[in-house]
């Protein structure tokens, strides 16, 4: 079996894979940053006392979590231009990934915030800190500390989900596999190489996760 496996072709396509590896990296990184910000915003809106804020956030989170990413992606890719909104493909892709993961981040951050003992907030109130100061200096740092693992888990999901961007003809790792398959008809070589690069990203994120957990000296307090 292995004698049929063509390493030479893989080598030949390496420049393309390298380029696509970095494309996947930066598309994911951009979406990740956006998703965390959207998550913080959606989560604070959802936890707000005001229904004017909490309802839209709830509808956003529920509708994203209840529908497939591919349908969302197609909606933005085909649907928005039909409504007269034209965006470059990569913007559409990052936008879809950001909104999708943002809903999951909102829920992860919420679980972290709600796990914080109310005494922490009372201590902040007692010393005169404002609502935003309590959020910024007391609640969010602890919520992030407690949710490092699920947050990085979601980051790994996001990287893998970025493979769907190949379907709107963005050049990234899965698209590279598709090209090798269609140009040379070598799907085994093509997609195994694609998978190997995802594995590299996975281990990078995992190493970061372990490193950041070790840095959380205060974690035994939880």
């Amino acid at each position: 079996m292995l004698e049929n496996f063509n390493f030479r072709v893989i080598w030949e396509y390496m420049p393309l894979y390298g380029q696509c590896f970095f494309a996947t990296l930066w598309l994911s990184a951009l979406s990740l940053i956006g998703a965390v910000l959207v998550g913080i915003l959606a989560c604070s809106m959802r936890l707000s006392q005001s229904r004017l804020l909490s309802w839209p956030a709830g509808i956003y989170i529920e509708s994203i979590r209840s529908t497939p990413l591919l349908a969302q992606l197609y909606f933005f890719y085909f649907g928005l231009p039909s409504l007269g909104i034209m965006l470059p493909e990569w913007v559409t892709g990052v936008f879809a990934l950001t909104l999708n993961s943002g809903a999951y981040y909102a829920e992860i951050i919420r679980s972290g915030i709600q796990a914080i003992h109310f005494g922490q907030i009372e201590a902040g109130i007692s010393s005169g800190l404002s609502y935003f100061q309590r959020m910024r200096y007391i609640v969010l740092p602890q919520a992030f500390g407690m949710t490092v693992r699920p947050m990085l888990g979601q980051a790994i999901v996001l990287v893998k989900d970025s493979s769907l961007l190949s379907l709107i003809s963005i050049m990234e790792l899965t698209r590279a596999g598709q090209l090798l398959t269609s140009e040379r008809f070598m799907p085994a070589e093509g997609f195994l190489t694609t998978a190997a690069f995802y594995l590299v990203i996975y281990y990078l994120l995992k190493a970061f996760s372990n490193w950041s957990e070790k840095r959380l000296i205060f974690k035994e307090a939880f």
């Binding site: 003992h117 005494g119 922490q120 009372e122 201590a123 109130i125 007692s126 010393s127 005169g128 800190l129 404002s130 100061q133 200096y137 007391i138 740092p141 602890q142 500390g145 000296i217 205060f218 035994e220 307090a221 939880f222």
Partner: protein, 242 residues
Amino acid sequence: MISFKNVNKWYGDLHVLNNINLEVDAGEVVVVCGPSGSGKSTLIRCINRLEPIQEGELVVDNMAVHDKKTNMTKVRAEIGFVFQSFNLYPHMTALQNTTIAPIKVRKMKKADAEELGRETLTRVGLKDRINSYPAQLSGGQQQRVAIARGLCMNPKIMLFDEPTSALDPEMIGEVLDTIKMLAKGGMTMVVVTHEMGFAREVANRVVFMDDGYIVEVAPPNDFFRNAQTERGKAFLSSILSH
């Protein structure tokens, strides 16, 4: 300094503070005691409006706490509050715990706040634990950090809500000694505690509460030797019998 006038508070139908009248003068140390559920924690938590009151007047340092329009940040900056469960920020060192409010609320320069934090932590006997995280400290040390955190705001009043109830017996002494040091320095304090030896030594008055009422107010020696009410006597015999 603190003045309750006909203060009432309800949780739903439960009448937790019943027509409370109490004056605490500047420099005075008042110990509040009573059985659990008597309203003593609620009483102290109303002073910085961790709990709102529904009726009556509550004035702290000439600011009307009962008035919804009062800027509570200003009131709270003048009141240090020490909790039963410490409530230190676990992601900050002892020093950061003490400097966050001076920097963010008092707008103190970071270097000045750290200088003050070091001094204050040294005062409560934690010179060598300045850069420790709460999880690395014993209960008694954590509570002393919490006291230092309150003191760094240079408050006019310190409130203590059962500061030693969550501590192992061998650590109660170090925390009480710290509070005694403040009392002798002339700090206005309200302390909810069952430590009767402490009350005898430092309190100017003991307030005995039961069922949402203030039942007795007396100097500690009078209250402990010669409680005037049946409920006071019953409470004292129940806590002194073991």
